[in-house]
């Protein structure tokens, strides 16, 4: 008999250099029942995730503290000074510990080559700013897909071929 469990809150890390946009994305996510952490740069995001940014002059290692903090999704602005959202995406996908975290890119500019570049690098979604509630409602499947993928991998240890499904790419507006 399954006990009724409290719905776990998923934790989203939001990255944006604009204080206004950070406030907005935070409210959008909290309204949609996510737990939210906001940071104002890619390097701070990496610090929070427990990765050192070797280019950052004031990098402080949070790794022991942050191994406890689970991040279920990263949503980042594309255009940021220093490390862009694309750079952050690359670093996340290159990291063995972080690569399974879905990454969503936000941008105020609708540039197809930019969108393609991000999707090719492994971004799960591309949102045009200003981001709206209807966009945020598209996040859950990506978070859940990651959990399902882990379950599938466990079930298929016997060596049967796993056919990977392509990510749903929808960034057109």
């Amino acid at each position: 008999m399954a006990a009724v469990a409290t719905q776990p809150q998923f934790h989203v890390l939001a990255v944006d250099d604009s204080v206004l946009d950070r406030k907005l994305i935070e409210r959008l996510l909290k309204t949609s029942s996510y737990q939210v952490t906001t940071v104002d740069s890619g390097s701070k995001a990496l610090e929070f995730l427990g990765l050192q940014d070797e280019n950052s002059e004031d990098a402080v290692s949070f790794s022991s503290h942050n191994q406890e903090v689970e991040v279920n999704l990263i949503i980042t602005d594309y255009c940021m000074p220093g490390m862009t959202g694309y750079d952050l995406l690359k670093k996340v996908k290159e990291s063995s510990s972080l690569r399974d975290i879905p990454v969503v890119i936000m941008s105020s500019e609708n540039i197809p080559s930019r969108i393609n570049r991000c999707m090719e690098e492994g971004a799960d979604e591309f949102f045009l700013k200003p981001v709206q509630l209807s966009d945020v409602s598209r996040l859950k499947p990506h978070i859940l897909k990651k959990s399902t993928k882990c379950e599938d991998l466990n079930q298929n240890k016997s060596g049967t071929t796993i056919s990977s499904s392509t990510n749903n790419i929808s960034g057109n507006r």
Binding site: S18, V19, L20, D21, K23, L24, R27, L28, T31, C79, S108, K129, P130, Q132, L133
Partner: protein
């Protein structure tokens, strides 16, 4: 002051802001994010914009007055302002920024100056009207009334 009069004033003000294109649908999105748990959300975000935009516009002014104009720097500021104005639904400001970026790209000083003037004007208008709107809203709330939602 009579509550229903206050509410009518608020509705009329808000409607005209949309009709005049000063605000667009994005502002409505912000209002929908405001609730009993976050009653000051729109006010907070718009206040942030007042500060942010005010600062950027000052920067733009001084950058344009340099001996040698750095169009890349100006474009970067305008891009920021365009983004934040779009985020709160400040449509006219956002549109001026769009044109401003085109003039930056063309390294056109006259075009840039013209946009700068428009920007100053639009920002003043925007600030003044939104401040009035918030004042009326405060009066409604103080009278124990509810703030009318725009259809």
């Amino acid at each position: 002051m009579d509550l229903s009069l206050l509410q009518r004033t608020y509705s009329d003000l808000l409607s005209s802001l949309f009709t005049e294109g000063i605000l667009n649908q994005q502002f409505t999105e912000l209002q929908q994010l405001q609730d009993e748990n976050n009653p000051g959300f729109v006010y907070e975000v718009v206040s942030l914009f007042f500060d942010d935009a005010g600062r950027l516009i000052n920067e733009l002014g001084s950058n344009l007055n340099q001996q040698v104009v750095d169009y890349k720097k100006i474009d970067a500021h305008v891009h920021q302002l365009k983004g934040s104005s779009a985020s709160i639904g400040a449509q006219r400001i956002r549109n001026v920024c769009q044109g401003f970026r085109d003039y930056c790209e063309a390294n056109d000083p006259q075009g840039c100056f013209s946009c700068m003037q428009q920007l100053n004007q639009e920002f003043l208008t925007f600030k003044s009207k939104l401040e009035t709107l918030f004042k009326v809203e405060q009066q409604i709330v103080a009278s124990g009334g509810s703030v009318p939602m725009i259809q």
